[in-house]
């Protein structure tokens, strides 16, 4: 079932290049490697903004309503005399969530690594459509710009939470942020979804059609499996969010009643009749939950690849890993209701979603165990990329386990929307996916920029981040179980929660140190792009095809013919070979058996 990929036109073409100008090379580039870098840089900038917002939120939680020079400097009129305003706190909550989930961990992560690795690892000259790929990036860029512009409108950016539940998000009189800020949020997200769909379609088509000779589906590296399935989930679920956003725009601007009914606000009865906010919740979470896996699966794929390479061992249970990706993908589309146990929907529906939700723990557990077994009796090369991958497995387990509580409708009653939930999802999808992204960056930086990141700064970055991540989110579970609701501007109106105040200060300290240490990474990243040590072609002694391409980027990826594939990607330390790695393009020697999976 291997598809012969090289198109003849391309083969004939690569010898005599078209003239590249600065604009076609660096700005409106159609080359997947350049687009990957564009995604990464844009995602990084958005990430810096998102993390700074979380730092400000943490400072407000630890020292509520205290003047702070940082607030005064960054929030301007929203922090009169340096005291943060309650409206802007909710805006920070909202935009932090939106930016981190969509702009950093969806576009920044998938956009970067799907673009970089799909053509290089399956042996293709480029994406199926370079033009669509370029359009996808520029739509993402446009949506990022619009999201950032929304910080500067008169009544502030959207502030209804990243879930933008109506009626709060639908009625400008309900809060300041639901005016122009929310309009820009919706426009930005609609463009973002278009970008994501173009990207995803491209990934799927490329993986199906452009694999090189010998690259059967069962020989695909797990990274590609993860990107491929992620793209499919995106295609299935993102349009539903788009329709929800469009209907919300209709309710907001054209007086329809899809999500609104029986509303009395600020002294007047509104005309809306017959809609239901619960409908919006269904539509939102039909994307919202698969979105968790859109964020997480690429990180798991990257981790699979890096753990195998650096353990110098085959990934344990390749077939089970693929099956669990597929199982997670399928189940992820039928568990959305676990966000809505107490939304007012029929309790029987809650029972069904509890069942499907706890089912998804099974493939997740299989993945965690397989990672651990891959380490067993390995020869571990503890590079920064490997450390972040091991870190991912650790936070994935810690964060995933509490999902057993939140997925259980009965137990969810009392911890729903508390800090317990915040701790859970930050560990299992936020930190884990971020670790996956960092791992990918440390691992493929040489492929992207031809230079190496400084490993000592990498070690420093990892260990401080790892300690701070646990320092922030582990104690947070306890605060949540005390019943402390999330999204409170201050807890000081509830003496009941006074005994959580000290813990909140400690958490904020960890958060600030962790946040500031990301500067180490940023410095390493930007410094190494220009001044890092030059890399060799295959620095990690890896099997996958991208390392057979020359260090210097070229249009079309390989000079001459595209390498053919003769084996799977995980022949590490295979008996009968001198080296502890056998790249995929090395033919089987006489009598060598290929592993059957």
């Amino acid at each position: 079932m291997s598809a012969h990929a090289d198109t003849h036109a391309h083969d004939d073409d690569h010898g005599h290049h078209h003239k590249e100008t600065f604009v076609t090379k660096y700005i409106f580039s159609q080359d997947h490697k350049m687009i990957a870098k564009q995604y990464l840089i844009t995602g990084t900038i958005m990430g810096v903004i998102g993390v700074m917002m979380s730092m400000m939120m943490r400072m407000q939680i630890a020292w509520p309503e205290k003047p702070n020079v940082l607030f005064e400097a960054l929030l301007g009129k929203w922090a009169p005399e340096g005291v943060m305003d309650a409206d802007i706190y909710l805006a920070l909550v909202t935009i932090h969530g939106t930016i981190m989930v969509f702009f950093v961990l969806t576009a920044g992560l998938s956009g970067t690594f799907s673009n970089l690795l799909i053509p290089l690892q399956i042996g293709a000259r480029d994406m199926a459509s370079g033009f669509l790929n370029m359009v996808s990036y520029w739509l993402f860029f446009l949506s990022s710009v619009i999201m950032c512009i929304s910080f500067f409108v008169e009544f502030g950016p959207a502030a209804a939470g990243w879930t933008i539940y109506p009626p709060l998000s639908a009625l400008p009189m309900a809060q300041g942020g639901s005016g122009m800020g929310m309009t820009l949020w919706l426009v930005s997200m609609a463009i973002f979804i278009a970008s994501s769909l173009l990207g995803s379609l491209n990934y799927v088509v490329t993986v199906i059609n452009l694999r090189t000779k010998g690259m059967s589906m069962t020989r695909l590296p797990l990274t590609i499996w993860a990107f491929f399935v992620t793209a499919i989930i995106g295609i299935v679920s993102f349009p539903v969010l788009l329709s929800a956003a469009l209907l919300l725009i209709m309710d907001r601007s054209f007086g329809t009643s899809f999500f609104l009914s029986d509303i009395f606000i600020q002294g007047e009865v509104l005309h809306y009749q017959g809609g239901s906010p619960v409908l919006f919740e269904h539509l939102f979470w039909f994307l919202g939950h698969p979105e968790v896996y859109i964020v997480l699966l690429p990180a798991l794929g990257i981790t699979s690849e890096i753990i195998a390479t650096n353990s110098r061992k085959p990934i344990f249970g390749y077939r089970a890993m693929v099956m669990s990706i597929l199982a997670i993908a399928f189940l992820s589309t039928i568990v959305w209701g676990h966000h809505m146990f107490i939304s007012g929907m029929n309790p029987f529906l809650g029972s069904v979603f509890t069942f499907t939700t706890l089912l998804i723990a099974i493939p997740s557990a299989v993945k965690a165990f397989n990672y651990i077994t891959t380490l067993w009796k390995g020869n571990l090369q503890l590079n920064p990329a490997m450390l972040f991958s091991i870190g991912l497995v650790s936070t994935f387990i810690t964060g995933g386990l509490t999902g057993i509580i939140l997925g259980d409708s009965a137990l969810d009653i009392n911890v729903h929307d508390t800090y317990f939930v915040v701790a859970h999802f930050h560990l299992v999808m936020g930190i884990s996916a971020l670790y996956g992204m960092f791992a990918g960056i440390y691992h493929w930086f040489p492929k992207m920029f031809g230079r190496m990141l400084n490993k000592n700064l990498g070690y420093l970055h990892f260990w401080v981040t790892a300690i701070c991540a646990y320092g922030v989110f582990f104690p947070m579970h306890f605060i949540g179980m005390a019943g402390l609701p999330r999204r409170y501007y201050t807890n000081s109106n509830f003496p009941l929660f006074d005994d959580t105040a000290n813990a909140n200060v400690v958490i904020t300290m960890f958060a600030l140190v962790g946040g500031i240490f990301q500067l180490v990474y940023l410095w390493n990243f930007f410094y190494s792009i220009f001044f890092g040590k030059k890399t060799v072609q295959n620095p990690w002694r890896s099997n996958t095809l991208e390392w057979t391409a020359p260090v210097e980027h070229m249009h079309g990826n390989w000079p001459g013919e595209i390498p053919h594939v003769h084996r799977w990607a995980y022949d590490y330390s295979k008996p009968g070979h001198d080296d502890d790695f056998v790249p995929q393009n090395v033919p089987l020697y006489d009598g060598e058996e290929e592993l059957q999976h």
Partner: protein, 354 residues
């Protein structure tokens, strides 16, 4: 100011460590021009992995030590509470067992098998038996939890309204709560936001022409007789709110345009709860903290000393003052409750411009 000082200190620490790394870097020049992990790196980071395992265990123990009395896993005040708490404790225990073991294996393997030049890893790609085992064990454990959880969930959520049930309407608006009792006729009058008439002080939109509505009682405090099943019918007039009553292990969203419901039976009166030693300890602890911040609290106009009360809080983002949307709940004996409700104005008499 504290925040700023902290920031500066943290920044200085960061710069100090950064400089140390630079020195470390310079010291290495020439030894290797590649940024791939050496045996020395593997060794250091292998040991750090073990250190990190200890850190995970330490933060777990520290969290239990310092924050262990925070989680609401005992002293619930509703009939279904203890069952829920038990399920929670068992789930938690299970989680901690799995967490302790898997984190140990992960970090110990990372330490034990740290790379050395010349060693070859074991080529070990598959083992169906092993994989079957760790698919099967979660299946069994989760099946048990699902079944137990679903029984608990069904018994909590399927409340039957009987003769004995006290039906109370919870009404949410930005940013406060109201409660409406059915009165003598035990039937709540019809209501809709379209009937709200601020001029006549009909703030809940109760139908003035409905005979059942005449004796309804609207209050800003929630009083519940102990031992009697209560069924809340929830409404919201503007945006989504969530009625969260943590001590009763109860929560349900209030949705504009529909009536949601949640029922439970309170089992412990406010007075009894205040005498509970655990609660007294908690209150003493809180009050000690409050005394430390005396000036600040008094400047805000709050009572300095905290006394335990059940609370209903809003737990769904609802706008600017979401963080201050609360209502006091008082659980009392039937006699106290009867006396209290008799004192309240009935709807018919609460209207102005009559």
């Amino acid at each position: 100011m504290t925040a700023f000082l902290t920031l500066i200190i943290v920044l200085f620490i960061a710069i100090a460590i950064w400089q140390m790394v630079k020195i470390f870097d310079l010291a290495q020049v020439g030894s290797s021009n590649s940024q791939v992990a050496t045996d020395k790196d593997n060794k250091i980071n292998g040991y750090l992995m073990m250190g990190f395992l200890i850190f995970i265990y330490a933060i777990t123990i520290a969290s239990f030590w310092y924050l262990g009395d925070l989680p609401l896993t005992s002293n619930s005040a509703s009939e279904h509470g203890p069952g829920l708490d038990k399920l929670m404790i068992i789930s938690m225990a299970l989680i901690f067992i799995v967490q302790t073991i898997t984190q140990f294996l992960l970090h110990y393997f990372a330490f034990k098998y740290k790379g050395e030049k010349g060693r070859k890893a074991l080529f070990y790609a598959d083992n169906n038996t092993l994989e079957a085992i760790w698919t099967f064990i979660p299946v069994v454990v989760l099946a048990g939890l699902i079944i137990w959880g679903l029984f608990t969930w069904t018994s909590i959520m399927n409340v039957e309204e009987t003769e004995d049930t006290l039906v109370v309407e919870l009404y949410a608006q930005q940013f406060n709560w109201k409660a409406r009792y059915a009165g003598e006729d035990k039937t709540l009058g019809m209501a809709n936001v379209r009937l709200i008439d601020i001029d006549r002080a009909n703030i809940l939109g109760v139908d003035e022409s409905d005979p059942n509505a005449q004796d309804d009682v609207i209050t800003t405090e929630l009083h519940l007789p102990v031992g009697k099943p209560v069924l809340f019918k929830m409404r919201s007039q503007d945006v989504l709110h969530s009625a969260y009553m943590p001590h009763f292990r109860a929560q349900m969203n209030c949705v504009p345009g529909m009536i949601t419901q949640f029922g439970f039976t309170p089992t412990v009166t406010t007075e009894e709860m205040r005498l509970n030693p655990d609660i007294q300890e908690k209150v003493a602890n809180i009050n000690a903290l409050r005394l430390e911040n005396k000036e600040e609290i008094e400047a805000k106009g709050q009572d300095l000393m905290y006394e335990f009360d059940y609370l209903l809080l809003c737990n769904k983002i609802c706008g600017k003052s979401h963080y201050n949307m609360q209502m006091k709940i008082i659980v009392e004996t039937q006699e106290e409750y009867d006396a209290w409700i008799a004192e309240q104005k009935i709807f018919k008499n609460s209207l102005t411009n009559n």
